[in-house]
């Protein structure tokens, strides 16, 4: 039987989310200027983190 794909999906996007949130918090003013004055890295990091955690939750729930 194959494993549930939501598990690796959840893991990788949770990790990417954490990495992006970290990068977003440590962003230099120059990086913020590149994303037109908004901290898109931070926001998008939270989106990926949320997606990753949702996938992890769903893969747990099935068992």
């Amino acid at each position: 039987m194959n494993f549930d794909l939501r598990l690796p999906l959840g893991l990788i996007f949770t990790l990417y989310g954490i990495i992006l949130v970290g990068t977003g918090l440590l962003s230099s003013p120059e990086m913020i200027r590149q994303t037109l004055g908004q901290n898109v890295t931070l926001t998008w990091g939270f989106v990926q983190l949320l997606f990753g955690l949702t996938m992890l939750f769903l893969s747990r729930k099935r068992k």
Binding site: L9, I12, Q48
Partner: protein, 572 residues
């Protein structure tokens, strides 16, 4: 002359990329235990849920050449490019789900060529299997070459290092986990593309001042090239005559050539995509696969075509300073995505976007390799070289074919890097073989009188008609030769795309007409009993009345079509 942008990856970006490779390989290793027989290796044991096969179905087609090419077309032709999605994909996907999937999934066929063997005869299957196997393996090589060349230009990595590493990664995960591995990684790639490109499009669109401002900025793009003001921001309004739009195509050529012949020929018969649906865990899931794919597919123009439209608007506004210049002095349209990546994404987000691009190159290659190893093993090796061997023998052969296929891909990449014309030539030949194909399937599935001789000779005549058409047709500004007109250029077209669409229409019609004619002149070799499950009128329709509304293919198919018509009306 604007130079090509350099992408500077930071430590975080490399981390993101390496993490991705680790997951891809990890999925392969984790699936190794499940690969107990050839059915698991080639068909995923028909055990994959519909949402996974659906996203893989979409993703298998979404190679990086597609992403880069669609962005390039968005810049070159504007919103009209969306016809490749709304006209050239969705209707065929709905048709596949409702009408054709019951025969692919319901018959004993393990591949598309094998369906032809069951429905018609050995020679029709052989023709299809051999041309398909050659085609997929060369496409995989082209994919590999394009990836390595892009990385060489953008991040200055060594060409052969790129080839070796990506080929090795793909080799390992397919060798270990077979089709399931490819499908799982395609779904991962789908999410990578969405996650990587959404912030890119958001930032670029903001910078352009939003959709309304973008439409304003696209007016001078159109007028400076001698077209009506709205040409770059409307999908249908300028399709009356080929002269009215940069694609050089009228609405009839667009709807019949792209929307019917080419689109149905690809989505409904190409084993690369159909294989994903055939891996689904039930008939209902197999039929829902293309429909699940259709929903993100119809929204993808926002992710892949819009960036091209934004880039060309910026390019015009900046007086030609946004996109790099190609060798012939025009903007280098293929650099749309790299230019935007370099401009808008800081380290971190850049890693996601860049990894998404690499992921789609590699899974484009993996898709071709899995389709190749299945057709090679079942339709060529098992039928012509070694029938009646044990299942473990065929599993072994599948793994061997994976290694062999990847080696040939690397060889094809080498050829492509040495002689550009060879690849143009090959793609041309594949175009000849593919153009008539849908006529054979349509008659096979819906007309029980169609015979094996009819199908085979119809297909061969369709291919010959395509070659003949190519020898007689030439588009504006081209010299006779590989572009056409090598017999005598007597039919002239506004653009190569238009010439291509019309070639497909001619080849399809020849195949359709001659298959009917030859079938009527030859005797049926298959009885009604033989054709049960293979032809529409002899097969009981799968029931779905007791399922939830969102699991009924016909209902969902109709909803998808309504949605796509609304999209067309919104961007008329």
């Amino acid at each position: 002359m604007n130079p090509i942008p350099s992408i500077h990856l930071g430590l975080v970006d490399y981390g993101i990329l390496i993490l991705y490779f680790a997951f891809v390989l990890g999925i392969g290793f984790a699936l190794k235990r499940s690969m107990i027989g050839s059915k698991e290796f080639f068909q995923s044991g028909r055990s994959i849920p519909a949402w996974v096969t659906g996203l893989a179905f979409l993703s298998a087609n979404l190679g990086a050449q597609e992403v880069i090419g669609m962005a390039a077309s968005g810049a070159k032709y504007g919103l009209m490019t969306s016809h490749f999605y709304w006209v050239g994909a969705i209707p065929a996907m709905v048709f596949l789900a409702i009408f054709m999937m019951p025969f692919y999934y319901g018959s004993k066929a393990r591949s598309v060529p094998e369906y032809l063997k069951l429905r018609f005869d050995e020679k029709t299957r052989g023709f299809n299997a051999i041309s398909f196997a050659a085609m997929t393996i060369f496409s995989s090589g082209i994919s590999l070459h394009a990836l390595a060349k892009l990385l060489e230009t953008l991040v200055h990595w060594n060409y052969w290092t790129c080839i070796t590493i990506s080929a090795l990664i793909v080799l390992v995960y397919i060798f270990l986990g077979g089709l399931t591995s490819a499908i799982y990684n395609e779904v991962l790639q789908f999410f990578m593309i969405v996650m990587g490109f959404a912030p890119l499009v958001y930032l670029a669109l903001q910078d352009a001042g939003g959709w309304t401002a973008l439409k304003e900025k696209l007016i001078p793009v159109a007028t400076s090239q001698g077209y009506a003001a709205g040409t770059w921001s409307q999908s249908w309004a300028h399709l009356g005559q080929p002269l009215e739009n940069p694609m050089g195509i009228g609405w009839f050529g667009m709807v019949m050539g792209l929307g019917f012949v080419l689109s149905f020929g690809y989505w409904c018969t190409d084993f690369l995509v159909v294989q994903r649906a055939m891996a689904a865990d039930s008939m209902s899931a197999a039929r829902r696969t293309p429909l699940i794919a259709a929903i993100p597919k119809m929204l993808f123009p926002a992710l892949v075509i819009l960036p091209g439209m934004i880039a060309i608007a910026m390019h015009q506004q900046s007086g030609g300073m946004f996109l790099p210049t190609a060798a012939d002095g025009t903007p280098d349209y293929n650099m749309v995505i790299p230019t935007l990546l370099a401009k808008y994404l800081p380290t971190g987000l850049l890693g996601i976007g860049f990894t998404a691009l690499m992921a789609s190159f590699m899974s484009g290659m993996a898709g071709n390799v899995t389709a190749f190893n299945t057709v090679w093993t079942y339709d060529i090796y098992q039928s012509y070289f070694a029938p009646n061997k044990s299942d473990s023998h065929y599993l072994w052969m599948g793994r061997f074919a994976t290694v062999f296929g990847i080696l040939v891909s690397v060889g094809a990449a080498f050829l492509a890097s040495q002689f550009n014309n060879i690849m143009d030539m090959l793609q041309l030949v594949f175009g000849f073989v593919n153009a008539p194909l849908f006529a054979t399937f349509l008659l096979g599935m819906f007309w029980k009188r169609a015979t094996g001789h009819g199908a085979f000779y119809g297909l061969v005549s369709g291919t010959l008609a395509a070659i003949l058409f190519h020898g007689l047709a030439l588009s504006k500004g081209c010299l006779p030769g590989i572009k056409g007109g090598w017999i005598h250029p007597m039919l002239s077209f506004q653009s190569e795309m238009g010439q291509n669409f019309w070639m497909a229409i001619v080849a399809w019609s020849a195949c359709f007409g001659l298959t009917i004619l030859i079938s009527l002149l030859t005797r049926r070799t298959k009885t009604d009993e033989d054709l049960k499950g293979l032809v529409y009128s002899l097969t009981p329709q799968p029931k779905s009345e007791n399922e939830a509304w969102y699991k009924r293919p016909v209902l969902v198919g109709v909803l998808v079509m309504v949605a796509v018509i609304i999209l067309n009306l919104l961007f008329l």
